[in-house]
């Protein structure tokens, strides 16, 4: 098996086992979304209008929740030293770790979206639009979040710093993700315009994220 496949498989295995982060993210997403109708009240029209934004915010916070363990767990037990020394390029190793994190923690959020859409009075088209934008947008959240995770790796309790670093970077993703969902539900914009920009943001982060994370890991080790 190649080094990167081994890394992806290991991270997914750890995330799915007891104490892993995969389920925690989904449960958090569920909790945030369930609380919203109680806070906003039983105004169905308002819920429909806010639905995509609530789902997107929930997904953003849920993915942030597990992201700070991306490198700190490996740093604390010494695995990160061996990964840095390994023959696989560090950039690709970072990309593999982010991909594993997305598969274990991001995909379950997308799968849960249809069920949560019901709670927010979203119809089938609206739910499909939100799920599609999340499918395209959550990789961007993971790969930009990885940069923050790599910067915060040597700090103890770096989770809060991670949020402060990463949330501003995810604003564009949030704007275009919600805009595309709204466009599919109410118009007047066409769905394609914000959706293409969202795709572009994801592609950029797929390229920039691993390089930035690898560079900050190399400088941050001591």
């Amino acid at each position: 098996m190649s080094a990167l496949a081994a890394l992806i498989l290991r991270d997914i295995k750890i995330a799915l086992r007891v104490g892993g982060g995969a389920l925690i993210g989904v449960l958090f997403f569920l909790t945030v979304t369930v609380l919203m109708p109680f806070a906003i009240g039983p105004d169905l029209a308002l819920l429909t209008r806010l639905g995509p934004a609530i789902l997107w915010l929930g997904a953003l916070l849920a993915s942030l929740l597990t992201l700070d363990r991306l490198f700190t767990a490996d740093h604390e037990d010494g695995s990160l030293d061996l990964i840095v020394m390994g023959r696989a390029p560090l950039e690709l190793a970072c990309a593999a770790k982010a991909l594993a994190h997305w598969l274990a923690a991001g995909v379950p959020l997308i799968v849960a979206t249809p069920a949560l859409g019901l709670l927010l009075n979203l119809d089938a088209t609206a739910t499909a639009a939100v799920a599609l934008t999340l499918l395209v947008g959550t990789p961007a959240l993971t790969f930009t979040g990885m940069i923050g995770a790599a910067l915060a790796v040597t700090l103890h309790r770096g989770g809060l710093l991670l949020a402060v670093l990463v949330l501003p970077l995810s604003i564009p993703v949030l704007i275009f993700g919600v805009a595309a969902s709204q466009a599919a539900i109410t118009g007047p914009l066409s769905f394609g315009t914000p959706f293409s920009i969202l795709c572009a943001l994801s592609l950029v982060s797929l390229v920039v994220g691993p390089f930035a994370a690898a560079a900050s890991l190399r400088h941050g080790l001591d």
């Binding site: 080094a3 750890i14 104490g19 010494g78 030293d81 061996l82 840095v84 023959r87 080790l221 001591d222």
Partner: protein, 200 residues
């Protein structure tokens, strides 16, 4: 093969850890790095492993594989065992075999060699400190690397474990390997010594 360092300076956190350090070790040799706490033994090993950048000087390996860097031809056994508590003993070792790449040995044979043959499916969370160390040593056996950088390798090992590890090191040296070990306890092998200063 010859591993050598010339005039290495190391500065950490603004403090001069050591400066102008020279060392060398050839195939089949052990270099024991000795010195009091804080004298820079771990820093030297991490520097050779490429995990720290020297403030001056250079480290080089002559006669190794030309396309690979020194860290890529080295094993680093540090204070931390690089084990995941959620994975079993077998899964932990299999991951490092696959990730580190290169010529690999037989997993169960390596586990038996370090005395963990009976615990392959036990999650690493249930291992004792000594067993964790043995599993880390199995990593050195399962993937072949010519240079071994060992930081207090025998800590937490019982006497049988220390004897076992001495045998493991002998085999490595016999096959032309180089060992650099930071240690306080005698390794049980004739070694060239590098004494680090008392810090500044």
């Amino acid at each position: 093969m010859r591993l050598s360092g010339r005039h290495i300076d190391c500065i950490r956190g603004g403090r001069d850890v050591f400066s102008g350090l020279d060392f060398e070790a050839s195939s089949g040799e052990v270099l024991a790095v000795l010195g009091p706490n804080g004298s820079g033994k771990t820093s030297l090993l991490r520097l050779i492993a490429g995990l720290l950048v020297p403030a001056g000087g250079s480290v080089g390996l002559e006669g190794g594989e030309a396309e690979l860097t020194l860290p890529e031809q080295s094993h680093y056994l540090g204070h931390r065992d690089a084990l995941k508590p959620a994975l079993s003993v077998h899964e932990n070792l299999a991951f490092w075999r696959d990730f580190l790449g290169g010529a690999a040995g037989d997993l169960s044979q390596c586990l038996s060699a370090v005395g963990l043959g009976h615990a392959t499916h036990l999650p690493a969370a249930y291992l004792s400190a000594g067993q964790r160390r043995r599993l880390s040593i199995a990593r050195l056996l399962v993937v072949r690397r010519p240079v071994w950088l060992l930081d207090e390798p025998t800590s937490a090992l019982d006497t049988a474990g220390q004897d076992l590890f001495t045998g493991v090191m002998r085999d490595h040296l016999a096959s032309g390997g180089i060992i650099i070990a930071a240690t306080h306890t005698p390794l049980g092998i004739g070694a060239r010594e590098l004494r680090m200063g008392g810090g500044k």
